[in-house]
Subunit: 325 residues, 2 copies
C-alpha cells in the first residue's frame, strides 16, 4: 500500500507501535513532544519539518520563514508546560538561493528564539530542491507539572487561549488573493505566529495537567485529547472564541466560520483542561500576563467529542490532520 | 550571491556569527554537537539531515537507511564523549512510497538506536519528493569530561580508532558498479556504519579532551580540529591505519589510496588527541572493549595540518567538506 493511501494517522500509529519505550521515557510518540526523565526533571524534545512548497504560502519572506520554523517547535514545548532551552535546525537549501535570503532567515530565527528565552545552538546544511527546515526544540519541565494530551479528567473545564480561526483565514486571503485591507491581523497570524510559551509554563505551575497546541484545528486537536485521555469532551459552540475579523471576513465572502475556527489549523493557541475549582484563579493569572482564556466546555466520562448547538448535542466530525492528500 | 558560490563553510561561519550564545550554552555552532549546561551536567544535542538522492547510493535498502539515519546522529554524540539518551526524526516521504518500506526503515531505526542505549521518542511526518530524514540526537556528558574540536593541546598524541577509507571505497564500488566479491566489508562500511559511542565515553572518562568523528575525511576533519584548537597537527603518513581491503582494491584498479583514507568521509571512526602520558593506558582500555586505536601524529604550537612522508614535511590540503558543488 502507498503511503498516501495508508494515511498519516496510521503511520503515526505504526511508529508508536514500532519504537520501544526506554525506562527513562515518560512520554513518547503521540503527544506534542516527548518527555525524558533525567533525574529530578523532564527533558522535553520535539521536532517539526517545514517544506517551502507545502508549508509556506507563496511570497512568505525570509524573516517569516525564520519565525515560523522557530514557533512550530516552541509551541510544542509550550504545550508540555516546559521552559524552552534551545533549538537546532537541519536546513536544506536550493543551490540557486540568494545568500541574503539565508542571512535574513537565520537572523529571524535567532531573534525569535531569544524572544522566548531559547537559543539556536547548532545545525546541519544540505542541498535540496525546496527550502526544507527541520527543527528540533528542547525544554525542561518540572516533575508533577507536565501537560500532556492524556491528562484530561472527567469534570475538568476545557479552555482555550486567544481567539480562533485567524491563521487559516489569513491563509485563505493569501491563497485566494482576496483584498487584504483591514485583515492585516489575520495575515500576520498566518505568517508570523506566536507560541504560548509563558502561558504553558503558567498552566503547568498552576495545576493544569492536559494541553495541546492548536495546530491541526480545534476539532482534530480535541479528538486527539479525547483519544489519549480516554474521555468525552463536550463543547459549547457559542462559547468558542472566534476572531472578530474571521467573522467579518466570512460574512463578507460567504465563508463558513467553522471551517476556519474548527477545521483548520495553525492558530498555535493553547487548548487545555483543568479542575473546575482552579479555573477562575488560572484564568485571572493568564489575564495578568495579558492573555485571555475562555472556557469552551467540559470533560466527562465516555469517549468522543460532542458539540452543543441551539440545545442539540452532536458529534463533532474528526477530519484529522492528513499531510498526504 | 548564490548559496552554491558562497559555499558551505562560509554558511556555517555566517550561522556561527548570527546566533547569539546563551548563558547555558557551553559549546555552540561549529563543533560535532552543542553542549547545554543543565546544572551538574551537559545536555548534548545534534542534528543531521539525509536526503535520499544525495546521501544514499542507489539500491540502499530501507533497513540501511534506518541504520544510517541513526548512526550519523549518534556518531556526533560519541564525538562529544556523551552517553546517548534519545533520538527524534522529522521524516519526509514521497506519497507513492510503499508503506512496507517505511515499516522496515523505522524498525531498523528502533533496533539500531537501542543497540547504543538510545530510544526513538518522537517525530514529524511530511510529504516530500525524495525521502528526507532529519534526525536529532540527545545525550548527557559529565562536566569536565567533554570532548570538543577545540581541546587539542601542544604535546598531545593524535590517534584514530579502527582503519580508514573503507566507507568511501565501498561507495566507489557501488557507484562504479565494480565487482563486489571479496569487498563486502567495504560496502557494509558504507551502507551499515557503526558509531563509536562506547569509545567516545571511554575517551571522555579517561582524560582525552579533543575528538571529532571522521565524517568529512581525515584531512578535512584534522583541519577542523587545527582551526578550532588553534594548534598545529603533524601526521605521519605511514602510521595512518588504512583498511587492507582499501589497499587491495586500489592496487587492483589503480585508485589512489589517499583519496579514500584522507579525502573522503563517512568512516565514522573517532579522531582524538590526548596527553602523551595517558596514551598507552587509553589504547589498552580501548583494546579491552575490542577497538584498535593507532597514534598517527602529534599536536604542536602553531597552525595548520602537516604530513610527514619519506622524511619530508608538507602541508596537507584542506579540500573542505562542501555539500554545494
Amino acid at each position: 500500500m502507498k503511503v498516501s493511501e495508508f494515511g498519516e494517522r496510521a503511520l503515526v500509529e505504526l511508529a508508536r507501535r514500532t519504537f520501544k519505550r526506554g525506562p527513562r521515557i515518560k512520554v513518547g510518540i503521540g503527544d506534542d513532544a516527548a518527555a525524558i526523565d533525567i533525574d529530578g526533571r523532564y527533558l522535553i524534545v520535539t521536532t517539526d519539518m517545514l517544506v517551502a512548497g507545502t508549508h509556506f504560502p507563496h511570497g512568505t519572506t525570509a524573516k517569516q520563514m525564520g519565525i515560523k520554523a522557530v514557533i512550530v517547535n516552541l509551541s510544542d514545548i509550550a504545550a508540555m508546560g516546559a521552559a524552552p532551552l534551545a533549538l537546532i535546525f537541519s536546513v536544506g537549501l536550493p543551490r540557486e538561493l540568494d545568500v541574503d535570503f539565508v542571512r535574513r532567515m537565520i537572523r529571524s530565527m535567532d531573534v525569535t528564539a531569544r524572544r522566548y528565552g531559547a537559543y539556536v545552538v547548532g545545525g546541519d546544511l544540505d542541498e535540496t530542491d525546496d527550502i526544507t527546515i527541520a527543527g528540533a526544540a528542547f525544554g525542561l519541565a518540572k516533575k508533577g507539572q507536565l501537560l500532556t494530551r492524556s491528562g484530561a479528567k472527567p469534570g475538568n473545564v476545557i479552555a482555550v487561549t486567544g481567539q480562533l480561526g485567524a491563521a487559516s483565514a489569513g491563509l485563505k486571503i493569501l491563497l485566494e488573493r482576496l483584498p487584504p485591507k483591514g485583515y492585516e491581523k489575520l495575515i500576520k497570524a498566518q505568517l508570523e505566529p506566536i507560541a504560548r510559551v509563558r502561558e504553558g509554563m503558567l498552566l503547568a505551575k498552576n495545576g493544569a495537567r492536559a494541553a495541546i497546541d492548536l495546530t491541526d484545528g480545534l476539532a482534530a486537536n480535541l479528538w486527539q485529547v479525547s483519544r489519549m485521555s480516554k474521555a468525552k469532551l463536550i463543547i459549547d459552540r457559542y462559547k468558542v472564541p472566534i476572531h472578530p475579523l474571521v467573522n467579518k471576513l466570512s460574512e463578507r465572502h460567504g465563508f463558513d466560520v467553522e471551517e476556519f475556527a474548527f477545521f483548520s489549523g495553525e492558530d498555535f493557541e493553547m487548548l487545555f483542561t483543568l479542575r473546575r475549582d482552579i479555573w477562575e484563579k488560572v484564568r485571572r493569572a493568564l489575564k495578568r500576563i495579558g492573555t485571555d482564556a475562555t472556557a469552551i466546555g467540559y470533560v466527562s466520562k465516555g469517549r468522543g467529542v460532542y458539540i452543543q448547538k441551539h440545545g442539540t448535542l452532536e458529534k463533532l466530525p474528526d477530519r484529522g490532520y492528513e499531510h498526504f492528500k
